[in-house]
């Protein structure tokens, strides 16, 4: 005889096994192999055994950790900019726009994401480049005497990153902002609060879980993005994912690449942990 609870257990196993296999085969095992690789030397050197040399190399070479820090700082900057843009947009969509325009606006925000990141980035390049649309009109109407190169600098790169990630901030914030009763905002207003006080004390605390999950998604996306910094950043753009790609693909130094990969994983985990601590949220709450 099977009891009911055991039957439930069976169902659980049937669905759990594929998930478990998937995690094990595609996530856990490759990472173990990469971890092992990051602690060994390249094969042609014929020096077996564990070593920390790949990690030492990272700290010895200023290019590597400069790029690492630069990537971290820019990712945080982009996340903050995206948050600053995303909050009012989410507020407008959930609280101000009528029900009809609301759907329309959401679709408007979603549409650019139906095309691939590459196409989106090329779109920006067509607009900003020296022979691009803006320069064409500006010189045609005599506003600028000479075409100006607006691409291939950090500002263009940040703009591209902001553009490609802003949706991933707006959607989770819309989710929580929707559940914010308008009367809280009105009550605060009635009790004498100015607009920024309402944001600071009512809207932002209420939306915190959405804000944090949006920030985590955006931060991870930006940190791990490859195309946008590469294509829009130009000759001075350095992004840590590029370094990892270069180590793996161009210089055949998988060991160093693996070490870099783990450093990036470590850094993102630490930054997210700090952000959660600072905002007083916990991960359970945020992923809910």
């Amino acid at each position: 005889m099977m009891t009911k609870s055991k039957k439930l257990g069976w169902g659980f196993f049937i669905f759990f096994i594929p998930v478990f296999l998937w995690l094990l085969l595609l996530i856990v095992l490759p990472h173990i192999e990469l971890l092992r690789m990051s602690f060994t030397r390249a094969a042609y050197l014929k020096q077996p055994g564990l070593t920390l040399s790949n990690y030492f190399e990272f700290f010895k070479e200023p290019i590597y950790w400069n790029t690492f820090l630069r990537t971290a700082m820019y990712s945080i900057t982009v996340t903050i900019i995206v948050l600053i843009i995303g909050l009012p947009v989410a507020f407008y969509i959930t609280k101000i726009a009528s029900l009809k325009t609301r759907g329309f606006l959401t679709i408007l925000i979603l549409i650019p994401f139906w095309v691939s990141e590459l196409i989106r980035v090329y779109g920006w390049m067509i607009i900003l480049r020296e022979s691009g649309i803006i320069n064409h009109f500006m010189t045609k109407f005599g506003i600028w005497k000479q075409p100006i190169e607006m691409l291939y600098n950090d500002a263009a790169m940040i703009m591209g990153l902001v553009y490609t990630s802003v949706l991933f901030m707006i959607v989770p914030i819309i989710g929580v902002m929707d559940s914010l009763d308008n009367s809280y905002i009105e009550a605060a207003y009635d009790l004498g609060a100015k607009k920024w006080v309402i944001w600071r004390h009512i809207i932002i605390p209420h939306c915190m879980p959405g804000i944090i999950s949006g920030c985590i998604i955006v931060f991870m996306m930006v940190l791990g993005s490859y195309l946008t910094p590469n294509l829009m950043g130009g000759k001075n753009s350095l992004w840590f994912t590029q370094q990892i790609y270069n180590q793996f693909i161009l210089y055949f130094n998988w060991n160093m690449g693996a070490a870099f990969g783990f450093l990036l994983l470590l850094m993102s985990s630490i930054i997210i942990w700090i952000a959660l601590k600072l905002s007083g949220q916990n991960l359970k709450e945020v992923v809910k």
Binding site: D181, S183, Y184, E186, A187, A188, Y189, D190, L191, G192, A193, K194, V197, H201, I202, P205, H206
Partner: protein, 369 residues
């Protein structure tokens, strides 16, 4: 006495729709003023105009003699208790109450002193550190009011704050609220669709219908001397008979219903002979088996369709031979315990206890309780 709130010829239009139509009233300092009306009558719109969330299309609102035109809600000396209270769940009780004080830039020790004072006044002194979700419905109620009162507003506006409570608590809070208001002495403007709330608590009640005030009066006057058919129907229970107003040869008025039955009436307000009128008689004005010597009474034999037992508020539902349903108060002094469903009894009432108004044909209200 000083006028705390003065509303003059206020109109609010949304396109073609007029939500509030030429409303004027004054509220004296320290009074409990209610606006009673069915949902959709414009009372919430009116309240939000006073709070400052909407600007009137025409007319003016003055608070303590100051015109409030273009003064935003956060600058008005009024505070609003919201229908669902809107206590901030992200703050504890004391921070909720301190919110408004802090916005005025008051120092923390000062703020905390006031918070504890007001908590004491609403009878919840030990609740300062509780979270909002730890409070019961009635406690939330009092905290929401305390949060406004601590700011010492010229007028406290309340938007059906008892609506979400269950019946027993509502009954209790009615009395509490009245007591609190009397103690603190702040002017209350209270809107509700529940006539009993308005009657129990208020010094004055304005009955509102389709954007207009039908009558502003004391609760007893509203009940006893309704100024319109709407007030007569909306405030308390009333039996209505529709018919033509006529005069007999001795000059006494009577209402002739569609079955040619005559009902004598003395109070005809501004109705004229020949008008189609509604005649209203309160259930408690109708007497079961009236004494034979009351010759002036309207009298009729009726069939008891149902006994509606409701304690002190018990009634009989009876039907006249012409099919008119009438509610009759059933005093609970055991005198009429013998009356059962299906009995035939005689009822009668003094023509002076009926009033009549010109029949407008308009629907009074939908399924509003």
């Amino acid at each position: 006495m000083e006028i705390a709130l003065s509303v003059k010829n206020v109109v609010k239009k949304y396109g073609d729709f007029t939500a509030v139509n030429d409303v004027s009233f004054n509220v004296e300092d320290g009074k409990f003023f209610s606006i009673l009306g069915p949902s959709g009558c414009g009372k919430t719109t009116l309240l939000r105009m006073i709070a400052g969330f909407f600007e009137p299309t025409a007319g003016s609102i003055e608070i303590r003699g100051k015109n409030m035109a273009n003064v935003p809600p956060n600058k008005r000396p009024v505070n609003l208790v919201f229908q669902h209270l809107a206590l901030f769940p992200m703050m504890d009780v004391k921070e909720n109450i301190a919110f408004g004080l802090r916005r005025r830039g008051e120092k923390t020790p000062e703020v905390m002193k006031k918070v504890h004072n007001i908590l004491e006044r609403v009878g919840l002194p030990e609740y300062a550190d509780k979270r909002i979700d730890q409070l019961s419905g009635g406690q939330k109620q009092r905290i929401a009011i305390a949060r406004c009162l601590v700011l010492e507003p010229a007028v406290l506006l309340l938007d059906e704050p008892l609506g979400a409570l269950d019946l027993k608590l509502r009954e209790h809070m009615k009395v509490e609220l009245k007591k609190l208001q009397a103690e603190i002495g702040t002017t209350f403007v209270y809107i509700t669709h529940d006539q009993s709330e308005a009657m129990v608590m208020s010094d004055h009640v304005a009955v509102m219908n389709t954007g207009r005030f039908e009558q502003i009066d004391t609760p007893s006057n509203l009940y006893n001397n309704p100024a319109s058919s709407f007030v007569a129907m909306f405030v308390g229970n009333n039996n209505k008979v529709t018919g033509k107003l006529a005069k007999d040869e001795s000059g006494n008025f009577y209402v002739l219903d569609k079955n040619s039955l005559k009902y004598a009436i003395t109070s005809i307000k501004d109705c004229k002979e020949g008008d189609t009128v509604g005649m209203y008689t309160r259930p408690e004005a109708i007497i079961i088996n009236p004494a034979e010597d009351k010759t002036s009474f309207n009298r009729t034999g009726v069939f008891v369709k149902a006994v509606l037992f409701d304690g002190g508020n018990s009634r009989l539902l009876v039907v006249t031979p012409t099919g008119q349903e009438v509610l009759v108060a059933l005093p609970q002094n055991h005198q009429f315990d013998y009356i059962k469903k299906g009995d035939n009894i005689v009822i009668g009432w003094d023509p002076a206890s009926s009033v009549c108004f010109k029949e407008t044909g308009a629907k009074m209200y939908d399924d509003e309780i």
